[in-house]
């Protein structure tokens, strides 16, 4: 057997896991490939429709439906990375007979899959938006992309931390599961932070997700900005979760493999 460098092995494993995960989703059910992209798409669409149809476009001087779609895409990326990664140690246990597959590889692969799907959903929304002539002009593309990327890193760190925690306290997955929906309302997904009373703003700013949302829609719309965002605060959360997650993971890797 020819020797491969660690990095080559890592790439080979990621390639294999990514394609496997994707083909598993495509092969689930009759229209697997369609639903892989359109199930998350419709989830977002329904939320946006309900909100806009019932409460109207009370956004101010930007298109509120675009605002909601943008925020839900970002929030769903976070939600899916966390919820899919949390169970990935258990779901991929059979693969640990191949010694090059480390538990963390399965989390990385699932996270990348979610990133890929999010990218596809953004393309779908953009195509539909342009077709129906929505006002989708972006203020600062680079910073919006940065916002998504920062949120992606945060989601991965958080997911890794929770996945390791879930090995010992299997209640973790349950708690995170039902805390996701209330989190929508506590993270500036369906409103801008500016539009709510000042006494709540400070409270919501403890939630790191609020900051990511504010970056993303703050740089998308001309009418908004990022003056609430503390970049050092979200870096601190991301690094803390990443550090703790990796630290626990390194300590527990062998136990997870042979559990």
């Amino acid at each position: 057997m020819r020797k491969r460098s660690s990095f080559r092995i890592f790439l080979a494993v990621q390639n294999a896991l990514f394609l496997r995960e994707l083909s598993m989703r495509f092969s689930s059910g009759r229209m697997g490939m369609f639903w892989t992209f359109f199930e998350p798409f419709f989830q977002i669409l329904i939320f946006v429709l309900i909100k806009v149809l019932i409460f109207g476009k009370t956004g101010g001087n930007f298109d509120f439906s675009v605002f909601l779609a943008l925020n839900f895409i970002a929030f769903n990326m976070f939600k899916n990375i966390v919820s899919k990664s949390m169970g990935s140690f258990r779901a991929n246990k059979a693969l640990f007979v191949y010694k090059q597959v480390k538990p963390i590889d399965t989390i990385i692969a699932r996270t990348l899959i979610e990133l890929f799907i999010t990218g596809c959903i953004i393309i779908i929304f953009f195509s539909i938006g342009y077709y129906f002539n929505f006002d989708m002009e972006m203020k600062n593309f680079a910073m919006v992309a940065f916002g998504f990327f920062a949120l992606f890193l945060f989601s991965f760190s958080y997911a890794l931390f929770l996945a390791v925690l879930n090995v010992f306290f299997d209640s973790t997955a349950k708690i995170i599961g039902f805390s996701m929906t209330p989190l929508i309302f506590g993270s500036a997904v369906v409103y801008t932070l500016e539009s709510i009373p000042v006494e709540f703003q400070g409270l919501l700013l403890y939630n790191p997700l609020t900051h990511f949302m504010e970056i993303i829609h703050g740089f998308y719309f001309y009418a908004l900005d990022d003056h609430f965002v503390s970049y050092s605060y979200i870096s601190l959360w991301t690094l803390s979760f990443l550090y703790l997650g990796l630290w626990f993971y390194i300590k527990l890797e062998k136990r997870i493999i042979s559990a």
């Binding site: 057997m1 491969r4 080559r8 092995i9 080979a12 494993v13 390639n15 294999a16 394609l19 496997r20 083909s23 598993m24 092969s27 689930s28 059979a94 693969l95 640990f96 007979v97 191949y98 010694k99 090059q100 597959v101 062998k254 493999i257 042979s258």
Partner: protein
């Protein structure tokens, strides 16, 4: 060469630690096919898994320069709702094979395993015999220094058993095996040397026949 240096492995049970290996130091020579004998539950499979680096000793070191296959057992390694073909491709990708090599491997495994239409069906529809055909066929298409085979040869029908034994005899011209089996005939045909696992200890025998004798003695006691 496989070196075990004061290796201990135990499982925690309600009555305390149950030792599979207790401070075992042993060196197994290179270029020998090694048969592993022992009664059920003495830790043969655990030793295999430790050599395959998916189980780890509680203390001590296992050292080897050689490459080991994944432990070819009755279960595991395959994803239930993917087809046999997709699983074969997946494992090839894990080992960094190019697309051309993957196609070659797929063709080989399909032919060798004689699964026909089942090859494109989900693994969960397979019987255990069919699974081990796939797994065995797949392992033959890699160049490991050691194949770790855990009882897989004893499932499958008579015709396939014969075929796989012949294939294995051909394969061991270029590589070695570590074989767990309760079939003394297979052990005699394939293995040169043997180890007997008993009560937390490993005993090494230069000749597989001596190992078989020892094993018979343990079984009588």
């Amino acid at each position: 060469m496989i070196e075990l240096k004061s290796v201990s492995k135990f499982f925690k049970t309600k009555e305390g630690k149950k030792y599979i290996l207790k401070d075992v130091t042993i060196t197994l020579p290179s270029h020998k096919n090694i048969g592993i004998l022992g009664r059920n539950g003495t830790g043969k499979s655990t030793i295999m898994r430790m050599l395959g680096q998916i189980e780890f000793p509680n203390s001590g070191l296992i050292k080897s320069e050689k490459s080991f296959s994944w432990p070819l057992g009755l279960s595991g390694g395959f994803v239930g709702n993917m087809s046999g073909k997709a699983n074969v491709k997946f494992v090839c990708r894990l080992y960094g094979k190019s697309n051309k090599e993957i196609q070659k491997t797929v063709d080989f495994v399909k032919e060798f395993s004689e699964l026909d239409d089942y090859f494109d069906m989900p693994i969960k529809t397979y019987s255990s015999g069919m699974k081990s055909r796939l797994s065995f066929g797949l392992s033959l298409s890699f160049d490991f220094d050691y194949l770790l085979i855990d009882e897989t040869l004893s499932v499958g029908d008579a015709k396939f058993r014969k075929k796989s034994k012949e294939a294995l005899l051909k394969k061991i011209e270029s590589c070695n095996v570590l074989l767990v089996s309760h079939d003394m005939g297979t052990l005699r045909d394939i293995c040169d040397v043997g180890i007997v696992v008993n009560r937390g200890n490993i005993e090494y025998f230069e000749d597989i026949n001596l190992a078989i004798k020892k094993y018979a003695l343990i079984n009588k006691a």
